[in-house]
């Protein structure tokens, strides 16, 4: 659905986006992560034809964005980082205004306005001016605006920022449903790594250039130094010297009955460790390999 090849954007001497390439299939959720100033917003603006790339090629829904701006904009919905609404008019009027720019029938347009206002629990307040809304309500309204024309591609920049936990949960569920029910492709820019890991099919970490792009599972598998947690009933201290015998163990640390190990090749080394410990008389209560969280992976990649 979205194919970018060697995409570059320079502003005078600053390279905001440096030669990035990716491919997003229809219906996938593409988690786009990176620190502030990493080029996330610039990339979204290029893909939504708001700004032109300095170099590179982008094909969206089989069309080159350079010559098909009007079409591309008609199939995408966007929730910007700081979504503004017209504050003096009502939520209904805001949605009516924006949906009017798309080629959808009058009846479907009205049905969609009602559907999304009800879905985001704004229907009762639909005729109130937006300036009387809370930040969370405005965020939900902005999301409704992005969805009002049933776009094929949805660009979401921090979709749950400013929402209370219940609303954030509802929005996350909604994004998942979008993927399952409508095959909408979602380009999700977020700082919320938990959100990215629970929603994304592909995770792309960017800092000007792409640092990493793969599924969360691949990221976890590729991470150097896996973590293992061991709980030993009869105290861990006397068994600590065992770990220094393994060159695969990078780090070991005891805390109470628990030992945390950072090691390479857990698949081959774990059974050997277990055997050594039991032979030495350790009463192992718990031995578990802990998958690295996206936060750990992200911080690791960004730092390096």
């Amino acid at each position: 659905m979205i194919y970018a090849e060697n995409l570059t954007k320079r502003f005078n001497n600053i390279t905001a986006v440096d030669n990035i390439s990716f491919n997003i299939n229809e219906g996938q959720i593409f988690g786009f992560l990176g620190p502030n100033g990493a080029g996330k917003t610039t990339t979204v603006r290029i893909l939504s034809t708001l700004i032109k790339p300095t170099a590179g090629k982008v094909i969206i829904d089989g069309r080159d964005i350079k010559s098909n701006g009007d079409y591309i904009r008609s199939i995408l919905g966007i929730l910007t980082e700081t979504p503004g609404m017209y504050e003096k008019i009502s939520a209904y009027e805001n949605l009516d205004y924006f949906s009017g720019f798309y080629s959808i029938g009058e009846n479907r347009r009205k049905q969609n306005i009602e559907k999304f206002l009800k879905m985001f629990e704004l229907w009762e307040r639909r005729n109130d001016p937006v300036k009387s809304y809370s930040k969370g309500m405005k965020q939900k309204l902005a999301l409704a605006r992005a969805l009002i024309h049933e776009p094929k591609i949805l660009f979401l920049d921090e979709p749950t920022a400013g929402l209370d936990p219940e609303s954030a949960f509802m929005v996350r569920n909604f994004i998942e449903d979008l993927k399952n029910d409508t095959k909408t492709t979602v380009f999700l820019c977020t700082h919320n790594l938990e959100e990215a890991s629970s929603l994304s099919d592909i995770v792309c970490i960017i800092k000007g250039k792409i640092i990493s792009i793969s599924t969360l599972e691949e990221l976890q598998n590729n991470k150097k130094g896996k973590r293992v947690e061991v709980i030993i009933k009869n105290g861990p201290d006397k068994f600590m010297p065992i770990f220094s015998e393994f060159k695969e163990i990078i780090h070991s640390e005891a805390a109470g009955n628990k030992i945390n190990l950072t090691l390479e090749n857990p698949e081959t080394i774990n059974p050997v460790i277990i055997k050594k410990l039991t032979d030495a008389g350790a009463e192992i209560v718990y031995f578990n390999e802990i998958k690295a969280s996206l936060e750990e992976i992200y911080l690791d990649l960004i730092k390096n």
Binding site: L50, I51, R73, S74, I78, T80, P83, G84, I89
Partner: protein
Amino acid sequence: MKNSIKIFRKEIKEIIKNRSIWLPILAVSLMFSVIFPAILVFSLDSIVKDPDTANFIAKIFQNVGNVELAMLDFMIKQFMIFLLLIPAMLPSLIAPAAIVLEKESNTLEPLLATPIRTGELLFGKTLTSMVPSFAISLIDFILITAVVDTIGYTKFKIIPLPTWEWFVVTFVLSPAISFIITMISIIISSKSTDIRSAQGIGAVVIFPIYAVIGMQIGGLFLINVKFILITCAVLLAICPLVLRMAVKIFDRENILTKWKMK
């Protein structure tokens, strides 16, 4: 065109809700189209009895038959030039906010991300500024005509308005002035970073209109058919140039990237 109308309808709704825009215009309109003409035409005979005024009229209108009618003609020319104020004032209040307000309220990016074209957006913004301006000019034209004709007929048994000059001013000169000021204001709005600076610069745009009014009041020249036709020709020639300039200057990328979101 459909998208431009959509923009126009939404913005007019907002303007109607914003009294600070239309109340001053309404006040100025009533003042120049009803109160001043009524007072001046009604008190015409007492004005011409003043020796200084009589001397002034004698200098301007040589070999004049009826002094009162000559004075009435002079006053009508003064009212006509005030009629140019409205198409200049209203766009200078509305149009500078056209783009910069969208930037300030962070609605420009979602708006530009719709399939709307730059020309449609600018045309919609132009309509928002020009239609009320033309409507008020037209109402003022009708009101001045009604006031002047009523008093003129009652006192002198004549119906002085409308004249061809007035038709040209209302239907050609006023819209042309309105269009040019709107376009220049939109250019300023595209380049501005905040609404105050846009409106500040926008206020300067109507300075030439004040200058013309001042020159006429000061007796430096008197508006006439020749002036109106030459001005119309010049302004109509400028109209497509400012339109082209506005579309060229409205660069989506520059506007979005050179604007720091709040």
